[in-house]
Symmetry: C2
Subunit: 173 residues, 2 copies
């Protein structure tokens, strides 16, 4: 009975949904379908957040993300630490930091213990600006993910932990 999928009219499917996940059909491995759905969820939310950050605050998502990392670490972070946490390359962090420095939202401080490394911190202004944005950002996330039963949410959280630790092991962190 579950093999009746080949009868589903393709036209209808294409008309009612069209995103990354459209790639997955019944012939695909369950893991692939899962991956495409994961990707579709992330893209959907990420694109909406990006758009709102731009229209509401005139900031880009990567700049917001970098500031978010710094906000949790008042002592500052090195470029390499930002790179790891943001999961992007070092060169990318250099560019985003440059922009934020120009805008006066973060500063590169010299590290007396290691002259190769900077310590990047939010400026007072940066902290002020960020807090205002973060408040809205959190509301948006709740709006986008919300309506989920507490039980489902913690289920999901745990299942993602499984994926994360497995994938991290496979990729060597």
């Amino acid at each position: 009975m579950s093999k009746t999928t080949f009868q589903v009219p393709e036209i209808t499917v294409a008309a009612t949904q069209a995103d990354t996940e459209t790639r997955a059909t019944s012939e695909h491995a369950p893991d692939l379908r899962l991956w495409l759905r994961l990707l579709a969820c992330t893209n959907l939310i990420e694109n909406e957040i990006r758009s709102r950050l731009r229209t509401e605050f005139g900031i880009t998502l990567p700049r917001f993300d970098l500031m978010a990392q710094l906000e949790r670490k008042p002592q500052g972070l090195r470029m390499g630490e930002l790179s790891k946490r943001m999961m992007v390359t070092g060169g990318n962090v250099t560019g985003i930091t440059d922009q934020l420095v120009t805008e006066g939202l973060v500063v590169r401080e010299d590290n007396p213990n290691d002259r190769r490394a900077y310590i990047v911190k939010l400026t007072t202004e940066g902290r002020r600006v960020f807090r205002r944005m973060a408040e809205a950002h959190e509301k948006w996330i709740v709006e986008l993910l919300g309506g989920m039963a507490e039980n489902d949410r913690s289920q999901l959280y745990g299942l993602l932990a499984q994926i994360k630790s497995h994938a991290a092991r496979v990729t060597g962190r």
Copy 2:
């Protein structure tokens, strides 16, 4: 009993892992933590796939993604359809398609019914190349997601469906 999360020691968490998710602490809303974990999972897997596609096949992830959309639609897709399905802007699709055309992997065919629109298709060579890559790609996904109990996987699949449809409603598709 489920409200004990505020006791999680932040230091330990920060010391043992460093990624996007590091942004989440106990003071954050559960939804925010969930979002950051979702994002971390996606980035982890996506970055690994990108890297393997490059080293094994010398192709970029967006090019692979575009070809993947076409492979399922032998009749071809319009630029706008590719854009929706890949969840990226139209201008982006134009650029990626240009590259693939140069490489001889896809073609833009004129649409006799609508002279504004092209129909993009895989070439014979493109189909050949893609199939080889897709086989490896699927194995990688299984490797990265694998080891998950069938029950957990279908649980996760369903929970993501919830998120996806809710977020799609909020964003207006």
